[in-house]
Symmetry: C2
Amino acid sequence: MNYSVSEENYIKAIFHLQGDSGNVTTNDLAAALHTRPASVTDMMKKLKAKKLISYQPYYGFKLSAEGRKTALGIVRRHRLWEYFLAEKLNFDWEDVHEVAEHLEHVSSKKLIDKLDEYLGFPKFDPHGDPIPDSAGHMESDARNMLSETEAHQMVTVAYVSNQSKEMLALLKHRKIRIGTKLEIIKKFSFDQSLEIKPKNQQAFSISETLAKNIFVTHEQ
Amino acid sequence: MNYSVSEENYIKAIFHLQGDSGNVTTNDLAAALHTRPASVTDMMKKLKAKKLISYQPYYGFKLSAEGRKTALGIVRRHRLWEYFLAEKLNFDWEDVHEVAEHLEHVSSKKLIDKLDEYLGFPKFDPHGDPIPDSAGHMESDARNMLSETEAHQMVTVAYVSNQSKEMLALLKHRKIRIGTKLEIIKKFSFDQSLEIKPKNQQAFSISETLAKNIFVTHEQ
DNA sequence: ATAAAATTTTAGGCAAATCTAAAAAATATT
DNA sequence: AATATTTTTTAGATTTGCCTAAAATTTTAT
Ligand SMILES: [Mn+2]
Ligand SMILES: [Mn+2]
Ligand SMILES: [Mn+2]
Ligand SMILES: [Mn+2]
């Protein structure tokens, strides 16, 4: 019911790594947590004993129903704190993650539910990621990769998939954030770069690399 | 420069225990932290090696200048979070301590300074304890024990020295909190009980035991 | 189908933080 | 001053979480 900081970091990392296949490997998890494969194997034994994952030695692991529920709780805390830091404390977009990485481990349910209420039950964090509600449910709206969106469309930035400091620094410089409305002026097939024009800004071009990491919605 | 949760809890406990004499004993610290004397001795060796305390085996210990500075930082975080929980998240007075006990260990300076600013640089926490500023300075205003205050005076509750659940439950029932203004109607020498009348409330009597744990200011 | 390479696990060790039981030292009592 | 009591420290274990090096297993290449 109550897990250590280390256990929580492992659970959350597995949650983020298991995409559709649902299976995570020892090496991948070690890389994600900047730790050694041997340490991962140790922890997997413990999480299996606690029934948070199913684990076949040599064949990877996946969260159990209980593990997933636990992961959603941690993600909820992380994203609510990110929202708080950005909205209330005026943190820059790119700085919220590091602090939330620690705040997420303060696991008082009462604290988080009251924080959620205080913030007005936000649905998305500052990076556009959905915030699970207290029952573990979250929005999953249809988003399209900016690089695959047709020209001459007005879209709204909803999510950025790469959240490295470098990426966020670039977005900040370009004044692109979650909620920014922009028009796709032209697409160049030579290098797949795009000319875009954010509302109330001059048009400029962005690389394919960047466009592949920005997700947009069309509605409205 | 950066200390473990356990080290921080020890440092803070020493800070609270060392009154005027300035010297804390192994048994007292063990009792305060619900741990064993042997564990305290182990940790004292470590804190001494890190120059946070001066420590003479068998003769107790006290914080060094560096240790005191560190302790003030932890106390600052603790009390700012208590203020946040009470003022912004509407926590009951008696519930803030437990959660702050964990939040205090998230030690980002930027986070705490921005939180302080967001809260409007409060000078006292919900229990009336002074909050150190980012340089470690705090108010130390003249407070008097309610039991030793003359009758027919209008005073303001500024601090409660006993912060047990039982005490806070009684104060809550009596609707007495930090900032409550009240008049001392009469003092009974038989049992040292007091008749008091909070503003906008009926008069009632309180025991000497309670009156010895309530501190008040006269100004204004 | 073997051999080579990559991945994962096991074995053994280490540091932090705790504990119990025994020894040592300080303090109090006669 | 000697003895008893209390306090504190030391010795030796235990648990958690991590590591390196070696062994086991799976996967890939020939
Ligand atoms: Mn974390
Ligand atoms: Mn985020
Ligand atoms: Mn604490
Ligand atoms: Mn307090």
